[in-house]
Amino acid sequence: MIDPLQFTRGILGTVQNFTLMVFRAFRYMMVHFRVRESLLEMDRLGVGSIPIVFLANLFAGLDMALQFSVVMAPYGATNLLGKVVATSVIRDMGPVLASLVMSARVTAGITSELGMMATTQQIEALLVMGVDPVDRLVAPKILAGMVMLPVLSVVGDFLGVLAGLAVAMFGAHVPAPLYWSGVRTALTLPNLVNGIAKPFVFGFILVSIGCYYGLRTTGGAQGVGRSTTKAVVYAAIWILVANFLISKLLIDVWGWKL
């Protein structure tokens, strides 16, 4: 039986602790910015992830263009393929896909790394040496996430659009120039803001959730496994929640313009 009072208290506690950690991390970023650690984290987080983001977007782009052309062909609307593919890639698919793939890689990596450190007393050792783990470990990772996710996501967008071109040319027989002019009309301000704001937020989500559950790990190797699973699942869910909320917010700001 779940006690509703205890359950609510648990959730509130989590929200509070998470918020405190995040605020501390941002304060450390302002007070003394760690250049070396941040660059190192960006390298670890971003560069190694390029191949998987590449592959994920390639195949998702291929598939999406294929499905769209099947739907649009009967209406003779395949000349719009470029615009439709680019719009959905930039606004939604690119950021979400990159972030979900990254949460499997990055969130899991961060949680198990910090979880391992917590269970082997390395986090305590940091504290004992007068260093706040949020300062040394969490802040550079969060920053790296917020910088690298947009970058990866743009790379992914580009590949998704390119995959769409392949389908357009060889599947739907849309000439390349027509496809490209469609793509160009999709590069509007609302779309671009959408495409950058989302991965920025998602990067924050997937790293900070990983850090939070990593630092709070107890109970040895089994505990590390438990935290990791939890972090990856929550990160994925919150990415999708945030995706909807940001879409809604930006549509409210700009109206139904594309």
């Binding site: 007393q121 305590e124 050792a125 504290l127 004992v128 040496m129 007068g130």
Partner: protein, 242 residues
């Protein structure tokens, strides 16, 4: 000086330490003896301020630790060295980087100066040749010695805490680690707390001794005091070891 006054620690309703009073004069080594699970590590955690007692207070050189906020606590710990039960070396860093860590974080020494100091410290513990190894490539005893070097890296350590520094090591390594702890104490006049199960090592490093059992201190004093104690638990403990 480290002083625990009336310290009580509990996890939920389970009392781990009950109204502990303990005083370690400056420059002395207090050895804490007791069964596994009796709360020895817990005492160290209270001194470090990573665990807050539900009652009582911990004073270090007159400063009440529980009144410090998070950032003062971090600053306070900069003069504290702790050797963890399992070493707790940062496994993503090399031996040299582990020892350099404190210097990187709290000083603005140049890379050369840091390296010189790290080499000196590693020479002190006899591991200068392992400077580029990762902790996972070291034996248990070597790891413990790196942990000691790392704990000493603070420019002027005032307190050193050792959690079972010799457990599971061969007699030779144990002795060399005990000698090392003595040397640290002499060199820096540190106030030390050593947790151990091993009576031989306890006598090697200790000035004062404390037994804990069932959440309480049952005896504390010099070697003579302990050896002449009439407490059945202490008598058994001492006789089992010899």
């Amino acid at each position: 000086m480290i002083r625990l006054e009336n310290v009580t620690v509990a996890y939920g309703s389970r009392v781990i330490l009950e109204e502990i009073d303990l005083e370690i004069p400056t420059g002395k080594t207090m050895v804490i003896l007791g069964e596994s699970g009796s709360g020895k590590t817990t005492i160290l955690k209270c001194v470090l301020g990573t665990l807050h007692p539900v009652k009582g207070r911990v004073l270090a050189n007159g400063q009440d630790i529980s009144t410090l906020n998070e950032s003062d606590l971090l600053r306070f710990r900069q003069r504290m060295g702790m050797v963890f039960q399992e070493g707790a070396l940062f496994d993503s860093l090399t031996v040299g980087e582990n020892v350099a860590f404190w210097l990187w974080e709290h000083t603005s020494l140049s890379d050369e100066e840091v390296e010189t100091r790290v080499r000196t410290l590693l020479r002190f513990v006899g591991l200068e040749n392992s400077i580029d190894f990762k902790p996972s490539d070291l034996s248990g005893g070597m790891r413990r010695r790196v942990a000691i070097a790392r704990a000493m890296a603070a420019e002027d350590p005032a307190f050193m805490l050792y959690d079972e520094p010799t457990t599971g090591l061969d007699p030779f390594t144990s002795k060399s680690i005990c000698d090392l702890m003595r040397r640290v104490q002499r060199e820096f006049t540190t106030t030390n707390i050593v947790v151990t199960h091993d009576l031989t090592d306890a006598y090697r490093v200790g000035d004062l001794f404390t037994f804990i059992k069932d959440a309480k201190i049952i005896a504390t004093g010099s070697r003579q005091d302990i050896e002449h104690s009439h407490d059945p638990f202490i008598k058994t403990f001492l006789s089992l070891d010899s």
